[in-house]
Symmetry: C2
């Protein structure tokens, strides 16, 4: 069977970026039997990953990676912020081996995948991917692949992708043990993520920031804690993601605000029947989202 | 020491209403050594509570309660919806023993406490109380006093309350093992609850109802699940609570929507710096709300 696979056990995988997600990929991929390489300018991250046996080899600069043969990799996974990835491709793609597949992990797809495919040499294939398993922490020391087994993995091919590229992404996700692997267009992906993930973060931040009363924490219960858990947010990554998806995200913000306004009107009018209907609808819809 | 207490071990406590909270109180109070009586029109609830040894005696009607001596109770706890409590006081308070203290559990205070104190006979004292431990379930079979030990208990006295009434409420909460007991004015309470609990429920309902896409559940992660956990909501209780607190609640909704609008503007303008500031502020504020 193995010879029918695009991604074969023992293949060399180069991770560009070794933070929370790069580190988590490293752990999962080394367990799955691949040769795992990493390139990250942060010396500690590379040292830590080697010491913890999360990677076979690592480098902190292009020159070192070149010298150590890291660019001999059979595929590349970008695990850095989206705009940084585009910059990297522009500046350094000449180092990559011909014919390989390149993928990413970024949380928005339309702008990133199109641009990456435009920039990339014609002998390389870029396939967009998004492992949906965020955390309120960062850095390699927090990396953890155990959440993959309950997480969705979304592949976002465009018309420029081949069967080989899509299959590669599927096999990669499968090797890392993701719970469910789906294929969506970049548009469908961004719309879905704009609602389920980005809007929820905007809500959490806004709820956290809209009331400066410092005594509130004395009375906080689980509802407020649950709604603001994700208000602890990586300020370097999220603004970039919001901005890259602003059209769809602003649309979702508008729909949500409209719904809040309509609830407010019912409350202001003491329209008990109308509020009851909203509660019944909400309760019924929420059942659909319980974990199976 | 015991003789200095307002509430003494062995005292007879009558619970009016034996649902989720009435049942939870019953469990905690019987363990603490009180005589626990309950009045609830639902035959199953009374049967269940007696069978499970959650109460010493129960009745499903005023007549039965009278016949069984339940109105000989040394204090009364209303564990029914707020407007229903006011109705009960109006219709049936002649049955209560002179000099006793009456308390409640309702989630809004200004309108309820004032009206209850107005309606109540002058030989009885009403002291408002709010055990902050909601659940997305109801009915006596879901009752559970184990959450009390991590929950806040708020006492909301007015100018009409005596030292004896306030001490009684404090001793009652203490006997049931609440984590923290605070005293707030009804206004402070309603403002705090309007923000921490009511606004969060309105947000969860609105998020659940603002997008009818049925395929979303396939991709839902923890963020969306956490933000909508409380969108499963008791449609009989909450609209009444929202309506009874509508002035303060609508103010909190407005502040929150303003904050959302300001985030939306930053996103629409790709103002990365502005978004970063919001994220940093939100992260710092959220730390304050971590459980100690």
């Amino acid at each position: 069977m193995s010879e029918n696979k695009v991604l074969k056990i023992g293949d060399k995988i180069l991770l560009i970026g070794l933070g929370l997600m790069g580190g988590s990929y490293a752990k999962a991929l080394i367990k799955a039997g691949f040769m795992v390489y990493a390139l990250d300018p942060d010396e500690f991250s590379i040292y830590f990953a080697k010491h913890e046996k999360m990677i076979h080899e690592g480098a902190t600069s292009i020159e070192e990676a070149e010298a150590k043969g890291l660019f001999d990799a059979d595929c590349v996974v970008f695990a850095i912020y989206p705009n940084l990835m585009l910059e990297w491709i522009e500046k350094h793609q000449q180092h990559l081996k011909s014919g390989i597949i390149v993928t990413d992990i970024s949380g928005v797809k339309r702008q990133i995948v199109d641009k990456a495919q435009e920039l990339l040499r014609s002998d390389l294939e870029f396939i967009g991917a998004h492992p949906m398993c965020g955390k309120e922490s960062y850095g390699i020391t927090n990396s953890d692949d155990s959440s993959f087994r309950i997480a969705n993995f979304i592949i976002t091919p465009t018309i420029k992708n081949t069967w080989r590229g899509i299959t590669f992404a599927r096999e990669l996700a499968d090797a890392m043990g993701f719970y469910k692997i789906s294929v969506l267009s970049p548009e469908e992906h961004d719309d879905m993520i704009g609602f389920l993930s980005q809007l929820t973060h905007i809500i959490a931040i806004s709820l956290m920031n809209c009331n400066e009363n410092d005594h509130l924490q004395d009375y906080t219960g689980d509802s407020f804690r649950d709604l603001t858990r994700i208000a602890k947010i990586n300020e370097r990554m999220w603004p970039e993601l919001f901005s890259l998806n602003k059209d769809l995200l602003c649309g979702h913000i508008d729909s949500f605000i409209n719904e809040m306004q309509s609830m407010k009107e019912l409350i202001a009018n003491s329209d008990i029947k109308g509020m009851e209907e909203k509660c019944i609808h909400s309760t019924a819809r929420r059942q659909l989202f319980d974990r199976k």
